[in-house]
């Protein structure tokens, strides 16, 4: 066990946990923010995607000790009013079915648009590898394109 000082969504937290505990579980079970989801635990599905600094990270395999000084942003901290252009596009295109994977999808999409403000279909497909069993992929693609005109 060790104590880590982490900053999640502009809020500082002291957490006393196993240094190996993945950031996902620190966020969910210790900090108590449940918008970041567990899907596979092996960084395959992307349901747990958060931003560490400006980078999209699959937090289920990212030990809390690797966070260092970087600030963490989760879906809850993406915007104050839930009106980030990507969130807005998700609502307008009506992307979610069950909705479980969507916070990870949104966090991945925000990071993609930071890198490629006007992404091609190929860039979207190459970057957006998160799994959605409901099959919302086409609407996700459409929402990313719509958001790209506004970020």
């Amino acid at each position: 066990m060790a104590t880590f000082s982490i900053e999640v969504n502009d809020e500082k937290h002291e957490v006393n946990v196993d240094p190996q505990m993945p950031l996902l579980w620190v966020i969910r079970d210790v900090v108590g923010l449940t918008g970041t989801k567990y899907g596979c635990g092996i960084a395959q599905c992307g349901a747990c995607t958060v931003h560490v600094g400006n980078t999209a990270v699959r937090s289920c395999m990212f030990p809390v000790q690797s966070v260092g000084e970087e600030k963490i942003t989760t879906i809850e901290g993406l915007s104050k009013e839930g009106d980030h252009p990507v969130q807005e596009a998700w609502k307008e295109i009506d992307v979610p079915q069950c909705g479980y994977c969507q916070s990870g999808q949104i966090m991945a999409a925000v990071a993609l648009l930071r890198e490629h403000p006007d992404p091609s279909d190929e860039e979207i497909e190459r970057t957006m590898t998160n799994i959605c069993r409901c099959g919302t992929y086409n609407r996700i693609k459409k929402a990313i394109k719509q958001a790209s005109t506004r970020v």
Binding site: D18, C98, Y100, Q102, G135
Partner: protein
């Protein structure tokens, strides 16, 4: 109730109270019993579906479990349409299990919209009638001159209006009318519109609480260790390392399992890996390759049961046919892989139990839990959370029963039992394996005269009796049987249909090609037969089926050249009262590899309730169907699942999803469900396109093993 006295005057309070006690009953086709009653604060329950507070806020209850099929949006839409309120002014709340107020609180069989269409609209219309009556009394005018608009009663003679919030107290005291009629479709304002998922804001901000997100004061987390292989039993365990691990509070052995209880999910997952358990093989541990052989053997013998359907004399007709066509198909086990792994919160106390989480069948589950815990049903509460997918897995209640037992055995603590993805995939309840053999006989005029479907399924019957082309073929027989195994199987999105559509529609394509007929024309001719000269029971409407097929051919440009490298395949299937035809369009690349580009889809689900929801269900079903047909299988070696997580159980990703174009047949018929019917035709449409491109007939899944794809 308690606070309502502050906001209602004494007279109203007494009226409402009396009604609450009296329990007025609305006779919705003997389907629903609804009582008008006062709720917390100033909120009035007009009936089990509608609460209106005195400020005019309208709350519509969604009684059915939401698994991503959209009922939490579309069912309240039915009520709102008739109540005549602006959708943007409506709040929707999820109801828990309440068999006094609701019936059919289940997510399954694509049945929620189909079964609720009349009763939910009637609930809205009845409440509206009561609000009108209250306004008419207030104005001392006839109800005839009153109309409604956007949450208010309007006096059509003088334009005066009273918002519902000001009428709800007096409306709730009225006798519930029984002669209410619902709107005619021409006057729908909401039904048929594009309405976004009601929980979108909560979902895109991470605020929505799924079952796995449940947290309570004093709650523990738990996970379960199960036998590594089906057919093994727990002999002994050494939990010394586990018990002393950080964050672990208890290790409990029960049934054939071990529960690890602690303060965080990760800690219980980690500790579960450290338990040293001895498992003993009980009987023979089976392999899926062995099943394949056993299924083949079963098919080579005479059926052990009576035919599921028998029209005419298939044996004779086959021997007299001028051409025989034959194909065999094999289906692998599939895991459900809901993105939210199995989990449930349970707090079992001496005299009551609280259960909270993702379950498609709360009523049946409560009955099971009552028996398991020895508690009366009324002492058990079940709240259904929005589910991170269901697909049939959450029709089962094993994970709820486990959670209840763990809570009880751990001393009545509140506990959220969470499965790891590995447990979720290897823990069973698979789509059954099937083996099918089809034989068809065609006469000298290229007419299909005989059809024999012989099938066997691991753990479940494998065939439906009345699926098309049943009814269109004079000699038609279905024989099916079950091969019993210890492997738990379960319904999986579009049960039976998910594979029978693939095999039937591939076989129909095969017959058409072998007899040099156009696959679309061949299907239409069969439907003509079923209409003009039906044989036995015909479960589908041949006209509606034909319209869907023709429209799909039209919108996809069927039969027209799209260039040398573009190939199409056709499939159509009727399931859960919905007709769906799909055309798959693929491209043969320069290297000869195939890449699926697009699926055209035409559906007849009667009246479309929510256009956005309807489209997304079909599109999702298609992508799901393509994904599983292309990539998925669950194999077992010595009773143990070979696939354990998404690194070796392949799920479709965005780059592999085809474009989807959707059309609806607008015929004003009663609406049917869409959660499942989009899926079954997707795989055969693709397989038939593969045949068109290569002459190779895909008869087993996953297709990726064929080596034909890019």
């Amino acid at each position: 109730m308690k606070k309502s006295v502050k906001t209602l005057n004494r007279r109203d309070f007494i009226r409402v109270t009396a009604l609450a006690g009296g329990g007025l009953v609305l006779g919705f086709n003997a389907l629903l019993s609804c009582s008008t009653q006062a709720d917390e604060g100033k909120v009035i329950n007009l009936n089990a579906f509608i609460k209106i507070d005195t400020d005019g806020q309208v709350i519509i209850m969604n009684p059915n479990p939401e698994i991503g099929q959209g009922v939490k949006t579309s069912l309240p839409m039915l009520v709102a349409e008739e109540l005549d309120v602006d959708w943007t002014d409506v709040k929707v709340e999820q109801a828990g299990l309440d068999t006094q107020q609701y019936t059919r609180q289940i997510a399954g069989g694509s049945g929620s919209i189909r079964e609720s269409w009349d009763s939910f609209r009637l609930a809205g219309a009845t409440a509206r009638a009561m609000l009108i009556r209250a306004a008419a009394a207030k104005w001392a005018v006839s109800e005839e001159v009153c109309g409604t608009e956007k949450g208010a009663v309007i006096n059509t003679q003088n334009g005066k209006h009273i918002p519902y919030g000001e009428l709800v107290v007096s409306a709730a005291s009225l006798e519930v009318p029984t002669d209410v009629t619902v709107k005619s479709p021409e006057s729908f304002k909401l039904i048929g519109k594009r309405v976004a998922n009601i929980d979108n804001q909560a979902i895109v901000t991470g605020q929505h609480k799924y079952g796995i997100d449940t947290k309570r004061e004093g709650m523990h987390y738990a996970t379960i260790i199960r036998a590594p292989a089906f057919g093994q039993v727990l002999q002994s365990m050494d939990d010394r390392d586990t018990k002393n691990a950080d964050g672990i509070t208890q290790v409990i052995q029960f049934d054939n399992k071990i529960a690890i209880i602690g303060r965080s999910t990760w800690e219980v997952f980690q500790a579960a890996k450290k338990v040293k358990a001895e498992w003993k093989d009980e009987g023979v541990l089976e392999d899926t390759t062995g099943y394949q052989e056993k299924l083949k053997l079963a098919l080579s013998k005479s059926p052990t049961a009576d035919a599921k359907r028998k029209d005419g004399n298939v044996k004779q007709a086959l021997s007299g046919a001028s051409q025989l066509v034959e194909l065999s198909f094999d289906a692998p086990f599939l895991a459900h892989n809901t993105m939210e792994p199995m989990n449930f919160f349970a707090h079992v106390q001496q005299d009551r139990a609280e259960l909270h989480g993702p379950i498609q069948t709360p009523e049946r589950t409560r009955t099971r839990i009552a028996a398991l815990l020895g508690l009366p049903e009324e002492k058990i509460s079940i709240m259904m959370t929005r589910m991170g997918g269901g697909f049939g897995r959450r029709l089962m209640s094993d994970f709820v029963e486990e959670a209840a037992l763990v809570s009880k055995l751990a001393g009545g603590i509140p506990v959220n039992v969470i499965w790891s993805r590995e447990s979720d995939i290897t823990g069973g309840f698979y789509r059954p394996m099937y083996s099918y053999r089809y034989r068809a006989g065609v006469d000298g005029q290229r007419k299909l005269v005989a059809w024999h479907h012989r099938s066997v399924g691991v753990g479940a019957a494998a065939a439906s009796a009345d699926s098309f082309p049943a009814g269109a073929v004079p000699h038609f027989q279905v024989d099916t049987e079950v091969y019993e195994t210890p492997i738990p199987t379960a319904p999986w999105r579009a049960p039976t249909h998910n594979f029978i559509a693939f095999s039937e529609q591939s076989f129909i394509d095969e017959i058409a090609h072998k007899t040099k007929q156009d696959p679309v024309a061949f299907r239409l001719e069969l439907l003509e037969q079923a209409k003009a000269n039906p044989v036995g029971k015909v479960s589908y409407n041949p006209d509606r089926f034909a319209i869907v097929i023709k429209k799909a051919a039209e919108v996809s440009g069927w039969g027209k050249s799209k260039g040398d490298s573009v190939f199409q395949g056709f499939a159509a299937h009727f399931s859960f009262e919905t007709y769906v035809a799909e055309v798959a369009e693929l491209v043969k690349q320069e290297d000869g590899k195939l890449k699926l580009k697009k699926i055209y889809c035409v559906a007849d689900c009667g009246t479309v309730v929510n256009l956005s929801g309807a489209e997304t269900q079909l599109e999702g079903g298609i992508i799901d169907g393509i994904g599983h047909a292309m990539y998925a299988e669950l194999t077992l070696t010595k009773g143990k699942a070979d696939q354990t997580n998404f690194n070796n159980y392949r799920m479709i990703r965005m780059s592999e999803a085809p474009e989807v174009e959707i059309h609806f047949i607008q015929n004003g018929e009663k609406p049917t469900g869409l959660g499942e019917p989009g899926l079954p035709p997707a795989a055969p449409a693709l397989a038939n396109a593969v045949y068109a491109a290569t002459g190779i007939r895909l008869t087993s899944q996953p297709f990726i093993k064929s080596g034909l794809f890019a």
